[in-house]
C-alpha cells in the first residue's frame, strides 16, 4: 500500500473530507474542509471523487515523503511548495517519484492549503467520514492534528498521471472574498436598525483566537439586544452570533451544534469557502444580500464547478 510519511506536520494539519452531515440529533457537527471548494478542486486534479480525504494545512505547511511515489495536487492558498527543491505550481497535478518529499512553507496568501493525493487518504471512518473533529478528538488520524513520524495510508488510485490544471479564469472567479455576503440571521429583528447599520458598515478583524470552531472578530461591538430571552436552538454553519460584549463570532465547520446567543446574520453558502481562507488579523466586511441573491450566487458557483472548461489537461 502507498503511504505518506509525515516528516514535519506544519502548524496545524488535519485529515479532512467534505464532513459528516446528518448527525445533528447526536450533537455531532459536520466538520470537514474549511475551504471545501479547494478540496473538491484538488481532488479532481488527481482524478479522485470530489469528497476524497486530503490534508488541510493551516498557515504553515509540512514536509511529506512519498516512499513509493504518488500523484498529488495542492489547492487553496499558496504555501510555496517544492518537490526536491523544485517549485510546485499550485492548482496543478504533479507526480512525485519514489522517495521524493514535498516541502511546504508559510502561506503567501490565505489561511489554508490542501494536499490531495490520488487514491485519497485512508483513515478509519467515524460516522461515515474521514474528517477530524479536534474538540472531541474524533475522526481523522486518531482525532488529532498530524505529528512528525505519522504514516498515512493512501488508497489505491488509478496509477495514472496526466497533468491537469485549473483554468485561471475560473480561479479568479472562485478567489476568496474579504467582503462576505450575509442573509439575515434568525434573531436579526432583535437588533435595532442602528445596530444592523453598524454591523454592515464596519470592518472587523479576525482575532488570533479563531479556529475551525469559530472565528472571533474584533471591531465595533454590536449593542446586544435587551429584553428577549434566548432559548438554545440549532445553529447553522456560518451563523454570526453576537454574545454579551457585542463582538461577533462566525460559527464554523467544527461549530457547536446548538447555541444560545442571538444571530444577526449568516454568511451565504457560496462564501463559506472564503471564510476558510481568512487569517488572523485579516479584515472582513459584511454585505447584506437577499435570499434570492444567495441562491443565485450558489447556483452560479456550482455551475462553474461543474463546467467542462474548469480543468485543462
Amino acid at each position: 500500500m502507498k503511504v505518506i510519511q509525515v516528516q514535519a506536520p506544519g502548524l496545524f494539519t488535519t485529515v479532512q473530507d467534505l464532513g459528516r452531515e446528518g448527525f445533528g440529533p447526536l450533537g455531532v457537527s459536520p466538520s470537514g474542509a474549511a475551504d471545501p471548494i479547494s478540496l473538491r478542486l484538488g481532488n479532481r486534479l488527481v482524478g479522485n471523487a470530489e469528497g476524497a480525504a486530503g490534508l488541510e494545512m493551516t498557515l504553515l505547511g509540512g514536509t511529506f515523503l512519498f516512499p513509493k511515489g504518488a500523484v498529488v495536487a495542492l489547492a487553496g492558498s499558496d504555501f510555496g511548495a517544492t518537490l526536491d527543491d523544485l517549485p510546485v505550481e499550485p492548482w496543478t497535478s504533479v507526480e512525485a517519484r519514489s522517495g521524493q518529499a514535498l516541502r511546504l512553507g508559510p502561506t503567501r496568501s490565505g489561511a489554508r492549503c490542501y494536499l490531495c493525493v490520488q487514491g485519497g487518504i485512508i483513515v478509519k471512518p467515524f460516522l461515515a467520514s474521514a474528517s477530524t473533529h479536534i474538540l472531541s478528538g474524533l475522526g481523522g488520524l486518531d482525532g488529532r492534528p498530524l505529528r512528525k513520524g505519522d504514516i498515512l495510508n493512501v488508497g489505491s488510485g488509478m496509477l495514472s498521471f496526466c497533468k491537469k490544471t485549473i483554468a485561471s479564469q475560473a480561479l479568479q472567479r472562485l478567489s476568496p472574498r474579504k467582503v462576505l455576503r450575509v442573509t439575515p440571521g434568525p434573531q436579526h429583528d432583535w437588533f435595532p436598525e442602528s445596530s444592523q447599520r453598524l454591523f454592515h458598515a464596519s470592518a472587523y478583524r479576525v482575532s488570533e483566537e479563531s479556529n475551525r470552531m469559530g472565528l472571533r472578530l474584533e471591531g465595533p461591538p454590536i449593542p446586544t439586544p435587551s429584553g428577549g430571552q434566548m432559548i438554545s436552538e440549532g445553529v447553522s454553519l456560518g451563523a454570526i452570533q453576537i454574545p454579551n460584549g457585542g463582538l461577533p463570532i462566525i460559527l464554523f465547520v467544527e461549530q457547536q451544534t446548538t447555541g444560545g446567543y442571538p444571530k444577526i446574520g449568516n454568511v451565504i453558502s457560496a462564501d463559506l469557502s472564503s471564510v476558510g481562507q481568512l487569517r488572523p488579523r485579516d479584515e472582513v466586511r459584511f454585505e447584506r444580500v437577499t435570499w434570492e441573491k444567495a441562491r443565485s450566487v450558489l447556483k452560479e458557483q456550482e455551475e462553474l464547478l461543474a463546467s467542462k472548461e474548469l480543468i485543462r489537461e
Binding site: 450533537g27 455531532v28 474538540l135 472531541s136 474524533l138 440549532g234 445553529v235 446548538t258 450558489l298
Partner: protein, 232 residues
C-alpha cells in the same frame, strides 16, 4: 419572513440552506413532545433534500440542499408533517442511571453551590440525586445531553467566567439544567461531581449513552467505586 403553521408552530429561515421550526417559546415537557414527534416523523418519512436535523428545547433546525428548494417550498412540504404530529407514537422512554462521585476534585463547585443555597454539600447532593431528568436534546458537542428537571432549590446561574477546560465526565448545573460533559471542552456550568461512564464512545453500539427523550437519574458513588468503574 416568519410564517405560521399548525399547532402554533412558526417557520424562520436561519440561513440560505437552513430553516428553524419553532413550536413554542417555553421550555416544557409538552413542547419537548412536539419536537420529539416532529423529529421522529421526519426520520420515519424523510424528505429528499433535507440533510440534517438539529432538535433543541422548543425548535428543530432543518438543514437542506439550497439548490433543491427555497425555504417556502420546504415549508409547504413540512406542513403535512406538522398536521400529523398527534398521530405519532413515541417509544416508551428509557430509564437510565448515571453514577456520580460528588464533591472534591470531581465536583469543585459543590461547596460554593451549597453555600449559595444555604445548605450543606450533602443536602445539595441529595437534591441533585432526588430528581428524574428529561433529556431534552443532544447538542453543543457529541453526546452532550441537555437535562431538564433540576429541583428549584438548586437553580444556580452559570459561572461568571467559564473554565477553559472542563474534564470529561464532569456533571454540572446551569440555570434549570443539568448535564454531563462528554469531552474536555470549555464550559461555564457549575461542577458538582464526575461520572466514570463514557458519555460518547465511537465503536459502542449506542455511541451516545443518552438520547433525546430518555429519563435520567444520578446515583452517588464513592471515589473507590469511581476508580473501579473507570478501569472496568
Amino acid at each position: 419572513m416568519p410564517t405560521s403553521a399548525p399547532l402554533g408552530a412558526r417557520f424562520q429561515p436561519a440561513s440560505d440552506n437552513s430553516l428553524l421550526v419553532y413550536f413554542d417559546q417555553r421550555i416544557s415537557p409538552a413542547t419537548h413532545q412536539q419536537v420529539a414527534k416532529f423529529l421522529r416523523l421526519l426520520e420515519l418519512q424523510p424528505i429528499t433534500g433535507i440533510r440534517n436535523l438539529h432538535p433543541a428545547y422548543c425548535s428543530v433546525l432543518i438543514k437542506f440542499d439550497a439548490l433543491q428548494f427555497p425555504h417556502d417550498e420546504l415549508q409547504a412540504l413540512l406542513l403535512p408533517y406538522l398536521d400529523r404530529l398527534d398521530e405519532v407514537c413515541l417509544p416508551e422512554p428509557r430509564q437510565l442511571e448515571i453514577p456520580v462521585c460528588y464533591g472534591g476534585d470531581y465536583g469543585p463547585d459543590l461547596a460554593e453551590v451549597s453555600t449559595l443555597h444555604g445548605m450543606t454539600p450533602q443536602q445539595a447532593i441529595e437534591l441533585h440525586v432526588s430528581a428524574t431528568y428529561l433529556v431534552y436534546f443532544l447538542g453543543f458537542v457529541p453526546g452532550f445531553a441537555y437535562l431538564g428537571g433540576l429541583p428549584e432549590a438548586l437553580v444556580t446561574p452559570r459561572l461568571p467566567t467559564p473554565r477553559r477546560s472542563v474534564p470529561p465526565g464532569s456533571v454540572g448545573i446551569a440555570g434549570y439544567q443539568s448535564g454531563v460533559y462528554p469531552f474536555a471542552t470549555p464550559g461555564g456550568w457549575r461542577l458538582l461531581g464526575r461520572t466514570p461512564i463514557a458519555m460518547f464512545q465511537p465503536g459502542r453500539s449506542a455511541m451516545s449513552l443518552l438520547s433525546l427523550g430518555d429519563r435520567v437519574r444520578f446515583t452517588p458513588i464513592s471515589s473507590e467505586q469511581f476508580v473501579a468503574l473507570e478501569s472496568a
